[in-house]
Homo-oligomer: 406 residues x 2
């Protein structure tokens, strides 16, 4: 008898029939003699509908109130799924994030899990219950309800799996796993059988929307393998884990892309110590998440500093940055929100210089101009014109032979 | 500076515009320098919609799960109302029933409030917040969410008012107060300026749906006057309190009626000690709420025993009662669900025999046949054919000159 932790996304529980389908899947796991803990997202578009209601009443809704509001979506889906299981004759119980012991800090809208007090979950499992936990939410020390950020039911699931020392955490969604590239852009893209945590993190944080990054981080930290698979088909899905086999190392594993990119350049910055801090500390204070940062080599002690942010935050960024640019003596501050990002990801890539060269030449052969380049140990990212992003994904998928298979 | 506790019903917060309207009303009370605590029901038909969803998945949904599900409706309305107040520049905070310290027993669907731990509410008031509490719900010792029964947001409001020692609890709804009779049946019916707790209890438990009975009981117990008024008009409403003035005592105050009546008669019951208990104990064990009970004087030690229940419970009642009737040697057990109930209510009525006589003769003049009669200190109830209930209400409203005013 093992303990299985599963998560079902919003599209998997979008209506009564789909909820019954999920209940049957869970029942099959229970029938094999397993203990089962399940996390669910809100039904279909519930979260967006609730956000719409909130903005009708307040253009800048308070984080605490918005979190309390949004958390109801997962309470609804978790209680309905529990009722569906009970109708099939199974013993089950729903728990809110708070009841399940998901304790978080008080950073509303994107709270961090501080710990999981799994006493109640364990007690309910011991009683023979299938435990259905409302995803995406937690509770602070002061008993205020928080949410963990969009898509964070994944995080709830992996955190529960870690706390309960489950052997695997299964994330069921409406896609068949982690693809080599977005199959809507590259028809030849195929689901990977396995991928490393770090690779998945790079893909997720550079535009691949299958998994919530924090869930992958927690999985890596606690050595919980994560299976991503479809709740609608019987396909095997993708296993995210640490022990990826040697054969698939030192290969490009996937192409990520992201169109939500705005580029900001502070032009003619005097190159002296403390300048970068003067620019980025106020942005951090305004809770603006800066992505790629590039500073060119300086000429005559003058340099340009370029970074990217999500487009929705560009106005706010310019408001914060313009007076600072003036203060530090920069020439001007310009922005461009017609950019996109394309990345190749694979373990050990940076030690093999051939990858970067192949990427750049593949793009250049297609006449795609590279605006910015950044790299990590296992990723190379190019910022290109948004109109060329899809072409770039296609050409890179081909150049690195991702259609061929492991 | 006083503390004002208000409750707004579901029709008062049915959409964004109505929520804003309620927010403006609350703001006006706060502007006068009052502390304000507000309880809200779920928006419009939310509760019915959630119940509909539940029954799609389980014909007999578990009480705990159903309560967790239904409680979300009030969380949604309370957070949205809070956001509306914040958009107007007011400091406000929403609290769930649990956060507001509404501790209940674990009788799901109709939990009883054990105590109100108002520490958190007091703390938020001290910070200057308007406190918006999700109505209709509480939390058990084990942190499970309960609901208090349909319409029980009134009860939340009065319990909070009692615990906070408010001077008055204001219940805002879509009617202008407690009427002398249902104005859909009697166009001349008028809202009462005031009514006693006991009278209100009798009206509420005999079909007048303006107030939740338990709310009135708690108001009486803790001496909290309750104002029932419309959130849509500026009309004064009805004050439910203990010190009703002498002039309106010993008068019929209102006519209640109820069509949800089924009559059960156990015919030919041997009249010996223990018979009534033999019949009613199993009904109580099956959680069936028996309303009127009438036992005729026995002839030759044989009597008939008649009682009424709500129509939805009739099948269950017959299942429980039929074998018992056989066991105790009764001749048969018959039921009739074409009955209705009409009651006149007024303090001190039973000491004034004229009321009963006037009631019976008014009904008889209209050719309305009385099936059963029961009385309390302040109420006389007749069971009549359901087809004659409306006529009965109209004729009694006229006979007791309720259109004339106090």
């Amino acid at each position: 008898m093992a303990l299985v932790v599963q998560k079902y996304g919003g599209s998997s529980v979008a209506d009564a029939d789909k909820i019954r389908n999920v209940a049957r899947r869970i029942a099959a796991v229970k029938d094999k003699g397993n203990d089962v803990v399940v996390t669910v997202s809100a039904m279909g578009n519930t979260t967006d509908e609730l956000i719409g209601l909130a903005y009708q009443l307040n253009e800048q809704p308070d984080g605490r109130e918005l979190d309390a509001l949004l958390s109801t979506g997962e309470v609804v889906s978790s209680t309905l799924l529990t009722m569906a299981l009970e109708a099939m004759g199974y013993e089950a119980i729903s728990l809110t994030g708070g009841q399940a012991g998901i304790r978080t800090d008080a950073t509303y809208r994107r709270a961090r899990i501080l710990k999981v007090e799994s006493k109640r979950v364990v007690k309910e499992l011991e009683k023979g219950n299938i435990v259905i936990v409302a995803g995406f939410q937690g509770i602070t020390e002061d008993m205020n309800v928080t949410t963990l950020g969009r898509g964070a039911s994944d995080t709830t699931a992996v955190a529960l799996a870690a706390s309960l020392e489950a052997e695997v955490c299964e994330i069921y969604t409406d896609v068949e796993g982690v693809y080599t590239a977005d199959p809507r852009i590259v028809p030849e893209a195929r689901p990977l059988a396995e991928i490393g945590y770090e690779e998945m993190l790079e893909l997720a944080s550079h535009g691949t929307k299958v998994m919530h990054s924090r869930a992958v981080e927690i999985g890596e930290l606690h050595h919980i393998p994560i299976l991503v698979a479809s709740s609608f088909t019987g396909k095997p899905g993708t296993l995210i884990h640490g022990g990826v086999s040697m054969e698939v190392r030192n290969k490009v594993r996937g192409i990520a892309h992201d169109l939500d990119v705005a580029k900001v350049t502070v032009v003619g910055v005097p190159d002296r110590p403390g300048i970068a801090a003067a620019i980025f500390e106020p942005l951090a204070a305004a809770s603006i998440s800066v992505d790629t940062i590039v500073q060119n080599a300086s000429i005559d002690n003058i340099t340009d500093l370029t970074f990217t942010v999500s487009r929705g935050q560009l106005d706010e960024v310019m408001e914060v940055i313009s007076p600072i640019a003036k203060e530090i003596g920069a020439r001007e501050c310009v922005s461009d929100s017609t950019q996109g990002k394309v990345s190749i990801v694979g373990t050990g890539m940076l030690n093999m210089p051939g990858f970067a060269a192949r990427m750049f030449s593949a793009l250049s052969e297609k006449g795609i101009n590279i605006q910015l380049i950044t790299t990590s140990e296992i990723r190379i990212t190019c910022i290109v014109d948004e109109g060329r992003v899809k072409d770039a994904v296609r050409v890179l998928h081909q150049a690195f032979e991702l259609d061929v298979g492991d």
